[in-house]
Amino acid sequence: MLLEDAIITEHGGMGDPQYKIWRLVLKIEMTKEVKPGQFVHLKVSTGRDPLLRRPISIAGIDRDKQEITLLYRLKGKGTEVLTQAKPGEKLNLLGPLGQGFTVPQSGTLYLVAGGIGIFPLLPLAQEALALGVTVHLFWGGGNQSFLESAGLSFWQALDIAVEVSTLDGSMGVQGNVLDLLRKHELAESGRVAVCGPMPMMAAVSEFFKETNFEVEASLEERMGCGLGACLGCVCTLRDEQGKLRRGKVCKDGPVFRAKEVVWDAAL
């Protein structure tokens, strides 16, 4: 983990502007340490408003060029300020942080993404592929235009099966990613990495419950320190004895074993 001023090498909107997706490439020192599923905590401004850093998942790792790619959606004040940053400028970065996905050494890996939950999955796909793992992507989005704007071409360039669903039926199966999964004849066993909205991840976890698949989910929560000190970004976990405890999304996660996660947010 490092605190460093990373140089922006590329930064700009990606795809159709209505989806407000941005791509940020940073030159950093710590690419060797980065594991799929980890994130960085970025200071988006030097001023006091916005005050806190913004956690952004790592969507690409290029160890030769010592670069990481971050994809994010412009959503609030922090990301709005971030979009102003220009190539050549520096951004203060804390990272890489958190526990990433387990990279399988063989067998089958299903990637299940909802919307922009696709972003942290690409480095995992690449590492698994390099090890000879059979990778299969299931991705649900609103429509074809969104999927293309959120990086569909990156995925089509990989040597993997890509299956998509769209709510409006403009591409792939009409419906959500669960509808897509239900149509698929599952392998006997393997690993699943899921990232998307909480209800979607809960449903995917449930879907694989009676199978021989081990599911890992990447969670999102409003973060403070990013280091596990402030207890701002917790989730609830249930161990095998049924005992509840808190997990720190920033430090124990963001990736957790899905069967341990209590998806009911009211606890």
Binding site: L52, E221, C225, G228, C230, C233, V234
Partner: protein, 315 residues
């Protein structure tokens, strides 16, 4: 501006707060620094004047549901709700590591009754390896929580006196700013026998998601910290330090050395960095360097000489 470390070597940084001596006046605030491990890789613990540990209660607590955080202009609302492993687990799993920290470790205790505080004070003594006990009578995030003791002077005096009677550690009373008269609360803590006063805890606040038309925090309300509260905190330190003859640890929105110097001039003998750690995990180091350089520039040979320079009688 990065002040030069070389320049500042001759400044005496040690500060004495009654029975508590710190190697320098820069502490970290409770609830922002865990039990001292999380930042160690980024901010060398031995350079800190001390660490105030995450607040503990007699029993373990899961704390409040999420969202627990909401950012506001130059500020942060939190409603963690005193999530902690409980006294027993703290002593068995955390204290052995805490006592090895190369700086002063201050435990922070919270309770729901006088008996709760007494139980924890009894268990935490000098022999525990702690440097002091901070009594949180000001947590805004739990129902019937510590804040009841922090808003009623008679209750504050009672709980501080009860803790003082049970422990041989220096007792720090952490005050809530959510009162009409902070001086009255500080005087009550002094009557109870507090050795040191720390202020301020967070200001009760709220933020609403206007699209969802409901509060952002699951707990609806939370404690506001960060630069947004700093002027309130400076004013309170200034008032209390002139009215009560106890050393003060000042905190509330300190991000830079300039902010820290403001608190010292207002009457604090030491400062605590809280939310500032989230913005810059190395903030305490830059603040310490900056304070030393400031002393150099103003011809002050000891940091302690800055305390209260902005008091009324001094200008």
């Amino acid at each position: 501006m990065q002040p030069s470390k070389e320049l500042a070597k001759t400044i005496k940084t040690e500060v004495k707060l009654g029975p508590l001596t710190l190697k320098n006046p820069v502490l970290t605030a409770s609830g922002t620094y865990g039990f001292g491990e999380e930042y160690a890789e980024l901010c060398p613990v031995e350079r800190l004047g001390g660490i105030t540990l995450k607040g503990i209660t007699p029993e373990p607590r899961l704390g409040n549901p999420v969202p627990r955080l909401a950012e506001t202009p130059a500020g942060l609302l939190n409603s963690v709700g005193l999530e902690n492993p409980g006294l027993k687990e703290f002593i068995s799993s955390y204290l052995p590591k805490v006592r090895e920290l190369p700086t002063a470790a201050i435990a922070n205790i919270s309770g729901f009754s006088v008996e709760d505080y007494v139980q924890m004070a009894r268990a935490l003594q000098k022999a525990s390896g702690l440097a002091a006990l901070e009594v949180n009578i000001s947590c805004p995030n739990v129902k019937h929580g510590g804040m009841h003791f922090g808003t009623d002077p008679a209750s504050a005096e009672q709980v501080i006196a009860a803790v003082k009677a049970e422990t041989d550690l220096p007792v720090i009373a952490k005050l809530s700013p959510n009162v009409t008269s902070i001086v009255a609360m500080a005087q009550a803590a002094a009557r109870g026998g507090a050795d040191i006063i720390s202020l301020i805890n967070t200001l009760l606040g709220m933020s609403i998601d206007i699209e969802k038309q409901r509060p952002i925090l699951a707990n609806c309300v939370g404690g506001l910290s960060g630069p947004a509260v700093r002027p309130v905190a400076v004013r309170m330190v200034w008032e209390v330090s002139q009215a009560v003859d106890l050393p003060i640890i000042g905190m509330g929105g300190i991000l830079t050395w300039q902010d820290a110097v403001e608190f010292l001039l207002a009457g604090a003998s030491a400062v605590s960095i809280g939310t500032g750690n989230f913005v810059d995990p190395c903030a305490p180091l830059g603040i310490l360097d900056g304070i030393e350089e400031y002393c150099q520039r103003h011809g002050v040979s000891a940091v302690s000489e800055l305390t209260g320079r902005a008091w009324k009688k001094n200008h």
